[in-house]
Amino acid sequence: MSGTLRAQLCFLLLSVTALRGHARFLDIQDNEISPEGLLSLLSSELKRELPEEFVYRRALRCLDMVAVEGQFTFTAERPQLNCAVFFIGEPSDIISIEYDSVNIDCRGGDFVKVFDGWVMKGEKFPSSQDHPLPLYERYSDYCETGVTRPIVRSSQNVAMLFFRLHQSGSSFTVTFRKLINPFPCNVISQTPEGSFTMIIPQQHRNCSFSIIYPVEIQIGELSLGQHNDLKRSILGCAGSGDFVELLGGNGMDTSKMFPMADLCYSFNGPAQMKVGCDNTVVRMVSSGKFVNRVSFQYRLLGHQELQQMKGNSVEDVCLRA
């Protein structure tokens, strides 16, 4: 094989593997690309994965939140009937949970279920309007499908694990990994302060960015559609298919929250808004005809600011300023 052809093949293989988001390295000696080096690209073992002794391990509690990749084990010392573990990653991650070893009594009423999203007080994030799957498909039960499909992937950066163990001595171990998501849609922010740019590339979907703190949001740039049309209507943004809305509420479900502001025209200057709710959401509705983009920053509202807003506001429903 000539040198250029080999180099081109190598480049092709690199591009194909890079699309998955996993990088590999080639062992090149003496500027010669050997066949062994090429074949190593195709092997499924990731060179960047840490060896066994470097995997993070710890025990799970009945109520727990996990943000680190690693292997987590729960061992029941007494019957645990209502337990949940929250998983969260960076906004541009999706979550992968793999059952390593599960030692439970499925017939005795034990279960281990993974939910694609977060559920709290009967409200789920992302809401049914924003999630591609129907509700029952978002639950994945180990007792039903865990043996045949041991890896469960979420659609966004959050996931949950519900479990119930009746007998002491039952245990299970899961491996939590984060995978790359190039166009994140539906994110829960890990921090009360930060910034984010949400892009919906010509898809007919709705995406929410949820911050579970009272924050002040500053929208730096909003680009809806290809042209900077001023599609302002007196009645609000109800008519247009592409818009951004700011929601505030005290639950997880974005469809049950109150709209604080509607934006349906592109602009460049900063627009600020303080939302004094337990949960603040920036939601983008996209028709699929355009590439929509919104960039914003947020910071935590201090206690004094909240008190000030309470004094100014007449309404009870989530203070806004």
Binding site: A67, G109, V119, M120, G122, Y213, D278
Partner: protein
Amino acid sequence: MIKDRPETFPRDQMPYLEKTPNESKAMLSSQKRCFFVKISVDSAIQTQATKCVTLVADRNSWKTDAPRKVQNPSKDIPFTHRFSSPLFDMKLNFLVTTVALLVAFPPPYECRAIESSSNQPATDPDGERQSPPVWARLGEEYFIRLGNRNQNSPRSPADSFPETSQYSKRALQLQLTQRLLEGKVGNIGRLDGNYALRALDSVERERRSEEPPISLDLTFHLLREVLEMARAEQMAQQAHSNRKMMEIFGK
């Protein structure tokens, strides 16, 4: 099913059993079926009557209400000479008695000739009266059976029933309603239990399907605390792995 039949019937066939296997199996819930029958001997139609048959236990065969089969006499022996045979004498006696009884005590009004796969849904008002009860009974049977099965399931009460998509549920419900309206009795056998369950619960399920079967009651305050603990753990782990990397590669 009434077809144009030859007036003589082969010896080994019951004249009123012209049913396809699917139709036979479709008659699940009714014990009795009545047919219009022509009994003929020697190219001459002796009598016509409505005859009822009973479904046997394995539902794969039919037997007449009469204890013995009605056999057609041989064509070879002239009719007048048959009286001389004692066996034939008995058979003829029996035949005449049966026919006389049928004529004297006509079968109940709802017995009628069953027409299946015909395009005349409006011809028999009796048929339409008859089919809804069959359907309802069949429906109840299916509902009850499936209800018991779900109760006996070993899953915990927090679990939800298996749910189908809204579109398939609606489609099945429409199909079920359509069949009820058209009164196609013969199609009962093609329904299986899943259809009935989905049709019955589809409206309730659509309302209930949006409720998460498993949820956790947690305040935002508690959620934030757990989140902050997880963040602290992540920072500590990041620092630890950075240190390790520096140790390995920094040498």
